[in-house]
Structure formats: structure tokens, C-alpha cells
């Protein structure tokens, strides 16, 4: 019986890590991601999401959820997003595979 309970606990833990692990990780490190200039925005802004790898279509599609996808900013690992609302900005900051979020020039 005790063995069954332990297994169940382990199973639940593993599933929770798979489902929510990345979210939590991203949220915990969100502060370091957002450029100070973007800390207290009140309206839609244009930003550049900087990645430390070449994005695949998967990543572009995910980023497009947070704003209007506006192509790349100079190099292929810098993605422009326009009209990012403050809520979406917070969500974007919690995406752990994004390295930095800078204001667009």
C-alpha cells in the first residue's frame, strides 16, 4: 500500500513537472528578462524578443501570440513584436526560452 502511494506521488510529481515546470521556471526568471525601460508600461508597446538560438517556426508562432509578428530585427534571432499589451508583455517575459526583451527602436 505504501509502495502504491509513493508511486502515485512520484507519478503525479513527474506529470506536474512536465505540465508546469517550464511555466514556473519562466515565471521565476521573468525579472531578469525584461529590459528596465519596459518595466512600467501602461499601453501597447513594440518590443524585440531576443533569443540565443535560431528560432524555428514553432518559436515564431508562439511569439506571435503576444503581439503582432513584425519580422526580424537585424539578425534572425531578434524578433520584432508590435502592439504588445502590458498583460502580454508580462506573459512574454515568463517565456523561459526568450533571453531578453528589449524595447524596439
Amino acid at each position: 500500500m505504501r509502495a502504491a502511494r509513493l508511486r502515485l506521488l512520484l507519478g503525479v510529481l513527474l506529470i506536474l513537472v512536465i505540465l508546469y515546470g517550464q511555466d514556473l521556471l519562466g515565471r521565476a526568471t521573468a525579472g531578469g528578462r525584461l529590459d528596465p525601460a519596459l518595466r512600467d508600461v501602461t499601453g501597447p508597446v513594440s518590443v524585440v524578443a531576443v533569443l540565443d538560438f535560431t528560432p524555428e517556426r514553432f518559436h515564431n508562432e508562439r511569439l506571435a501570440r503576444y503581439g503582432v509578428f513584425a519580422g526580424r530585427d537585424k539578425t534572425v534571432n531578434r524578433i520584432r513584436l508590435r502592439q504588445v499589451s502590458p498583460e502580454n508583455l508580462a506573459r512574454l517575459a515568463a517565456v523561459y526560452w526568450v533571453s531578453r526583451i528589449e524595447p524596439a527602436r
Binding site: 512520484l10 507519478g11 517550464q22
Partner: protein, 255 residues
């Protein structure tokens, strides 16, 4: 200490497999388009994890199987009870259920796609269908296997219908219900992957089928391994413990 070595010994055959696999790949100089070496698969796995891809696809599949299981269980068990307790209903439905069992959920996929499009709804419907048939069937069988005497005895003592369900039907049918659910989840997981391959709206099936288009054999193998691993985790670390615990507490073990 002894427990630990016994658990670790589970890994031995896999180590052997990886060694043989690596040997074939390197020794026969198999093309990368056919087979990829273990280190390549590992680095692909790391990439997919650290770049957010694997977690998302795996989560989609997990949510889907979870939702489908809950829905199928909530609908299927009461249905199975209703049908199992009524002789005529059982006789009416048994043959048709058996017939449906012969038509896998995957066969209905094209029809579901015509009706619901390439959406998650399609996948959900197909997986629910796949899950619900074994659940209803097994619940029905479990209920019908309960000796009528038990029911009559309780009724003669004045027990209400609900009481009879709780004290006789439920414990008596529980082993069958649990077996049916477990079977159903096995079939359902397979149907889920197949559906995701066709519908291509996320999930591990989508991942491995999509990787095919770009000949990313390493990703296909990562996907396959994860599919197997997740099923084993869900089956052995979630369903089986629940099975043991419910049977130990309530079950009339009729193995």
C-alpha cells in the same frame, strides 16, 4: 540498498539496446536518413527540452488523454451501470458494443475530420470513443457478474436502491471497471497519437509526423521514446497505484 539495485537493473536491457544500436549505426555506417546515433538523439532531446518544444507537445498530449479519460469515465461508468443492471438493456447493447469494438477509433478519424475539421475537437471525440467502449463494456460485465443473491439479500433487508449500488454493485464491479479503464487508456493513448498525426494541431503525434517531413530522424526517435516513456509513467505511476489502492480498499478480488 537492495531495492535501489533492483530498480536500477531495469535499465540494463536498455543499455544493451543502446550499445547494439550504436554498434549497428557506427559499424554498418548506416546513413543518417535511416538511423541516428544515440548521442545525436540525446542532443536532440536536450535541444527540444531547453527550447520549450518538447514540454509543449508532451503537455498537449497529456491534457488530451486526461480530459478524454475523465469524460469517458464519467459518462461510461454510469452508462455501464445503467445497462448492466437491466437485463434487457444489456442484451440490447452487448452485440452493438462488440461490433463497435471492432471498429477502432482511428477508423472513424476521416469522418470526424469531415465533421469537426482539423481541430482538437476531432481528436477528443476519437479518443473518447476509443476509451468509452471498453469502460462501458467492462462496467457492464462487472455489474452483471455480481451474484443476484447479494442484491436480493440486501433488498430483502430493506436497503434503498442507492445503498445497494454503493455496497454491492460498486465494490463488486470495481475490479472490472478499473481493468476497463486501464485497457481503455492504453488504446486511447495509441488512438491519440494516431489522431495527432493526422490532425496536426500539436501533441507528440504531430511532433514525430512533422519531423518526418524534414527527415529529422533524431527528433522522430526522441518523440517515440517520449511517447513510450509517458505511457509507462501514466500507466505504472498513476493508473496502477490507483488500481491497487481502490482494489485494496473496496475490491472484491476475483482475480
Amino acid at each position: 540498498m537492495i531495492r535501489a539495485t533492483r530498480d536500477l537493473r531495469v535499465l540494463l536491457p536498455f543499455i544493451l539496446l543502446i550499445a547494439v544500436w550504436w554498434g549497428i549505426k557506427a559499424g554498418a555506417d548506416v546513413s543518417d536518413r535511416l538511423l541516428v546515433s544515440p548521442p545525436a538523439v540525446w542532443s536532440s532531446f536536450s535541444y527540444l527540452v531547453t527550447h520549450g518544444i518538447l514540454a509543449e507537445y508532451a503537455s498537449t498530449s497529456l491534457w488530451m488523454i486526461g480530459a478524454a479519460t475523465i469524460i469517458s469515465f464519467s459518462v461510461g461508468v454510469p452508462l455501464g451501470f445503467a445497462v448492466g443492471t437491466n437485463r434487457y438493456a444489456a442484451r440490447a447493447l452487448e452485440g452493438s458494443l462488440r461490433f463497435l469494438q471492432g471498429i477502432s477509433g482511428i477508423a472513424w478519424l476521416p469522418l470526424a475530420i469531415l465533421w469537426f475539421g482539423f481541430t482538437h475537437t476531432t481528436t477528443l471525440v476519437i479518443v473518447i470513443y476509443t476509451l468509452i467502449v471498453p469502460i462501458v463494456f467492462n462496467t457492464m460485465t462487472g455489474v452483471r457478474a455480481i451474484p443476484e443473491n447479494y442484491v436480493l439479500a440486501l433488498r430483502s433487508l430493506g436497503a434503498s436502491r442507492l445503498r445497494i449500488v454503493r455496497d454491492v454493485y460498486l465494490p463488486g464491479a470495481l475490479p472490472s471497471i478499473v481493468v476497463g479503464t486501464r485497457l481503455g487508456m492504453g488504446y486511447g493513448w495509441r488512438a491519440l497519437i494516431a489522431s495527432e498525426m493526422l490532425v496536426r494541431q500539436g501533441g507528440l503525434g504531430d511532433l514525430i509526423f512533422g519531423a518526418r517531413t524534414f527527415n529529422q530522424i533524431d527528433r522522430i526517435m526522441v518523440g517515440m521514446a517520449v511517447i513510450g516513456l509517458l505511457y509507462i509513467i501514466v500507466d505504472r505511476l498513476l493508473v496502477q497505484p490507483v488500481e491497487s489502492m481502490t482494489l485494496a480498499r473496496w475490491g472484491v478480488l476475483r482475480r
